[in-house]
């Protein structure tokens, strides 16, 4: 069955912040994709993945798509489970991979 993906979208003056929680796989990546594609290219999209337990190439693809099209910042603390995954795919080359947000 499909995992429901918890997405919390907050529009800030400077950016749009999506807080993800749960697992992102091929079954529910479409939700993510849809939400992400709505953010304008010029707007900074901040995706907080600290609560994400599973992220594979499906979800990574969405991030890369976004990173190629517009501004993207992925927030993953050093202790975050999928931090290593993000490092392995070198998302930091196209987007900003940060440990935390300034006001966290």
């Amino acid at each position: 069955m499909t995992e429901r993906l918890a997405m919390d979208v907050v529009e800030e003056p400077e950016a749009v912040v999506i807080r993800l929680a749960g697992d992102v796989d091929m079954t529910n990546v479409g939700q993510l994709r849809a939400t992400v594609s709505q953010v304008a290219a010029g707007t900074l999209l901040v995706v907080d993945v600290n609560e994400v337990g599973y992220l594979d190439s499906a979800g990574i693809a969405v991030l890369f798509e976004r990173a190629k099209r517009g501004r993207l910042e992925v927030v993953a603390a050093p202790g975050c489970p999928i931090r290593r995954v993000l490092e392995v795919v070198a998302i930091g080359q196209l987007a900003t991979l940060s440990d935390s947000r300034p006001d966290d």
Binding site: E3, D23, D25, T27, S57, A61, F64, E65, I82
Partner: protein, 1418 residues
Amino acid sequence: MSQDRGPLEPANDALGPHYAYAGPAPAPARPGEGAGATLGGPAAGAEGGQGTSRPSAGSGSVAEVMAGWDWASTPVGPAQGWPATLRTMVQVVLASRFPMWMGWGPELTFFYNDAYRRDTLGVKHPWALGRPAREVWAEIWPDLEPRVAAVMESGSATWDQALLLYLQRSGYREETYHTFSYSPVPGPDGAPEGLLCVVTEETGRVIGERRMTTLRQLASELSGTRTEAEVFAAVRSRLSQNRRDLPFTLVYAYDAEGRASLVSSTGLQLPHPAAPEQIGPGATEAAWPAGVMRSEPRLLVVDDLRRRFGQLPAGACDEPPSAAAVVPLAGRGEGPSGFLVAGLNPYRAFDSQYEGFLELLAGQVAAGLASARAYDAERRRAESLAELDRAKTEFFSNVSHEFRTPLTLILGPVEDSLNDNVDPLPSAQVARLEVVRRNARRLRRLVNDMLDFARIEGGRLQAETVPTDLDALTRDVVASFAPAIEQADLGLEVECAALPRPVVVDPDMWEKIVLNLLSNALKFTLEGTIRVSLTDGGDHVCLSVSDTGVGVPANQLPLLFQRFHRAPLSAARSHEGTGIGLALVHELARLHGGTAGVQSTEGEGSNFWVRLPYGERGTGTAVPQRDSARQAYLDEALQWGPATEVAPEDFASARTAEATVLVVDDNPDMRAHLARLMSPYWRVVLAKDGEHALALARVQRPDLVLTDVMMPGLDGFGLLEALRADRETATVPVIFLSARAGEEAAVEGLEAGADDYLVKPFSAVELLARVRSNLELARLRNRDAAWRAALVESLSEGVAVMGPSGTVTEVNAAFSQVLGYGSDGLPYEMPYPWFPDPVCEPEDHARMLAVMGTALRHGRCGGVVPARHRDGRRIHLEVSVVSVDDEDERRFVMAVRDVTADLLATEREAALARFGMRLAEAGDVRQVQEVGLDELGRLFGADAHLEWHAAVPGAGPSAAVGAGESQRTGAEAMDAARETGRVVLIPGAEAVFGPDEQWYTGMAAPLEPAAHDGAVWLSFATLRRVSLEDRALFGLLSGYLGQAMRRAQLFDDSKAVATALQRSILGPQETPAAVAVHYAPAVRPLEVGGDWYDVVELPDGRLGLVVGDCVGRGLQAATVMGQLRSACRALLLQMSSPAQVLSALDTFAERVPGAACTTVFCGVLDPRDDSLRFCSAGHLPAALVSFDGAAKLLNHNQSLPLGVLPGTQRSEAAEQVAPGALLVVYTDGLVERRGETIDVGIGRLVDAVREARALTPRALTLYLTRLLVPDDAQKDDVALVVYRQPGEVAAARFAVTVEAVPRELAGLRRQLCAWLHQHGVDGQSATELLVACGEACSNAVEHAYPAGAPGQLVVEGEIEPGRVRLRVSDTGRWRVPAQRGEDRGRGLQIMRGLTSRAEVVGTGDGTTVDLVKELLVD
């Protein structure tokens, strides 16, 4: 065709009767008919002349006209019938260029030629052709007829020269003169048939001559005239001579108001209405246009005389003039002086010649009039001058008489007093009275001279002459004057040779002559000789007095003998004198019938001479010499004494007052008098003229100058000016003493700058009072100024005073010290010389300008500005400017202080402080180097590089020096600096900016001058100057840097030593593969603490594990620890029983201070039987966790820590350690936390071990320490040993098969996750495995069974100690995705990145993904 020849009709107009041809023009004859055939020439149309003047030039020639003329109607008949003589004659006449006419036949038919027509016939051509002669010249036929008759009858020719004939040929009755001859033309029979007239007109010549005569005679007569009356008489007489051209004339003269008065008339009988006596200036109905003449002077013709005045006298003609010309007489200055009215000859046209004549006439009259007037003015002036002269003489004469009485009354008593032997006077009074007597005598002499002169003027003085032995007398007189010449240091030569006979002279007068000349010679000769000679000149004697004096300028020579004339001579002994001396000499000479004169060359000398005739008879009687003037002259001359004065010390010694008064007067008596007056009060210095005074003033600096005004050479005014012009004497008060009385003179003196003005004679009291008050005033003024100046000078700050435009006018000593510019260079204009150079230092220059500009504008400014000392140094000034209003001027006071040293010192201090601070913050050598170079670079605006050959390896790598030229230079400079131990400058190759200034690209300094081991090189960003201070600072800072680096080096070294030392007491870093250790001391930066671990390889493959915890932490505990550890190791190697080891350690611990209460765990693992024998001395229980997750705390045999009860036997326990099981030994630093019991912490540890029991020992230690001891929370030392029992152990297994559809993925993941956790795979590793596996599963789901029929997905797993394997397999097809360009390619990247090994094997039957992950933690 016949010509209609109408009669000529006379016309009348203003010019008189004249003729106009009134008929039609004669028509041309038919060809062949006219006279053309006879006369030749083309038939030409004759044009009738019609006009009132001469024939028009356009008409054809006479020959042409004649050719076309109708001769048939004339008495001569047609041309064909003419007799040969006539024809010949006609041809002769026509051909001649001389005017001719010919009459032929009884009628004397008129023929003529072109010349005649042109000159004489005028308007009558062509009417006259063929007419009878008497008709042609009807107007003069009465004159002509007799002549004609004479010729025709007698056959003899006539001759008339310049015969006056009134011709009607120009349209009016014209006065003409002709010279002509009538001669007969014989006919065939010899009798005169015709008359030939050859004629020349003489009109022009005659009239011209007439007029010229008038002018000439008038001119000559006028030249002899003086007065106006004479002028007019001449005018009258001359003008009346020419009645033809000037029938009448009138001359009017203007007076000052513009009224014209008649001054001369000719040709009219007065009174006559045409000649009113006076014409007022405004008269409009005047007879003549006087007003117009005056305002717009030009020649006017008034042509209605008859209307105005009726009939006028006719003059020489029959007709009265009908017109007159009015010509202005040019005067001197503006406007004409009058005008001339000239009636015009009615028989002449008023042509340009006539006009010219009248103008010349008027000019002469005007000139004559003008000169008459000038003469008149001159005469009147001479008269008034003479009048003035007479009045002067009379005045003097009167006044002089008045003088004599008082003089007598002065001299008399004075003489008496001086000669009084009975009651003689005290010497002071005698001196005074002598002065009185001398001056009284002088006065008397002057008076006498003037009276003499007056008498001569009035003719009342007679010479009483007697025959005199003139040479003796002369010698006598000269001798009596000699003393004065001697006193003046002049030579005297006398050449009075004996004369042949006596001279008849008035001896007194002769005396006077000689004395006067001698006196003059002495007065005007400052050095040289005076020569007197008396010579015989035949009928006269000649006295000559010559000198080598100043001479007389050439332009003064003629004036010398004039009365009252005083030549303005530049140098003389005295400026006194009335100026009548020479005039007197001249007059006296003249009275004797002689003459006086002078020769002189300016600068060389003069020679005055007097010539007297010997004379015949005396008029006087020989009288004894009267009271002679000799004494008076001598006395006066003696007064002009020598240059050396009566010694001033006579007057100087008496006084004690401080002030010095300089007295200037050319009169010695006056000097002495003034000196005597003032010396009781002040020091008196005397000068005899302006030059002398000026020199004295400069040297002696008098407090007051009292000066006469009239002096030879530099007079009072000149002296004043000179004194004021010199700064040194500009403020000295000057009092004028002058004989010129009156307000004007005083004002003039005061305006010239004198402080006071006294008039001679003055009262002594007044003089003293004025001198005193002026001195006082001056003293007050000076005191203030002196005080102010002293104050300013005393300031230690440089002070300058500036005018409104900023020009520096005053500076004090301190100022010139600061800037090098002193008061000798004043004034200093903006921009001041100490401004920075605008070219080389534009910013500095601008700054200085800005500061000064603000100061001048706002009256106040201050700041620190750069400037240039005179010697070229760059200095910094603290400048403060304030404005001061001085009366109506705004001035500024500027204070300057040299703050260069302060500024530089401050800068250097700051630089040093900052540098030191930054260096202090730096840690090791590398940091020190970085900081040091950065700071140096910043300070000097350069790139800093460093080279250091340090002995310690790994310390301070030298930064790479830039490539190329700069590199070599930099390296060279650093080498040089290092070797010499000095700062080395690298000069720039570009142009030098200023003299003595070098600009540099960089500089290098040694790091430690003594060590010669390193250098710093600065490469400047731009070419710049390097001052001494810069260099010093750089050297200093480089030294600091070197020291800091050395210190850091030492620190690093000692730290390395300490580290090494510490490491040496620690347990081994390298452990067998089954063992992993972690050690972290509590106290940083120590590497050791109170805890320890040890791993000891024992014989028989046994392994000893020790973990201990000494009391305390830090170095103290570490020293104890080290000993205990070593002891324990030694003991372990010795004894195989842990209990024995610890017991022995007890004993040892007793002897080591601080070792008591140390807890220890000591265990020995034996691989032969998988046993663990251990003993604990109060230590926390070790944890034993088997691979399947069972955990146990090894609590047995707790006993007391070391040294507490030494000698107590310890026991040991044993435990089985299965393969794959983990033994974890630790210290309390790992588990103890505030606020909880130790058991909680231990429990936490055990849980953590269980959770991650699949990890390798190494990974586990990292996992445990990360989890349990975050860096910032470590309070205690931590030691941890993890051991896994080697050997085969059953792996945990997993196998799940699901449908290869997306919905199965989550569940699969959950299952896998649970299995991993259950079997001791830590969270992070588990996540990574899940993602990798999940990736493989997703792949299979997505791609394995595309055809729609889903297949199966199998996931299998295996966990071994330290490793997890997973296999994902399907039985479908799986395209291996491309690595690049596709997102899916990431799948493999992810799998490979998260595991140790990922292999995808695809066959036709399916795909298998094998994942292996070593459980390491990094």
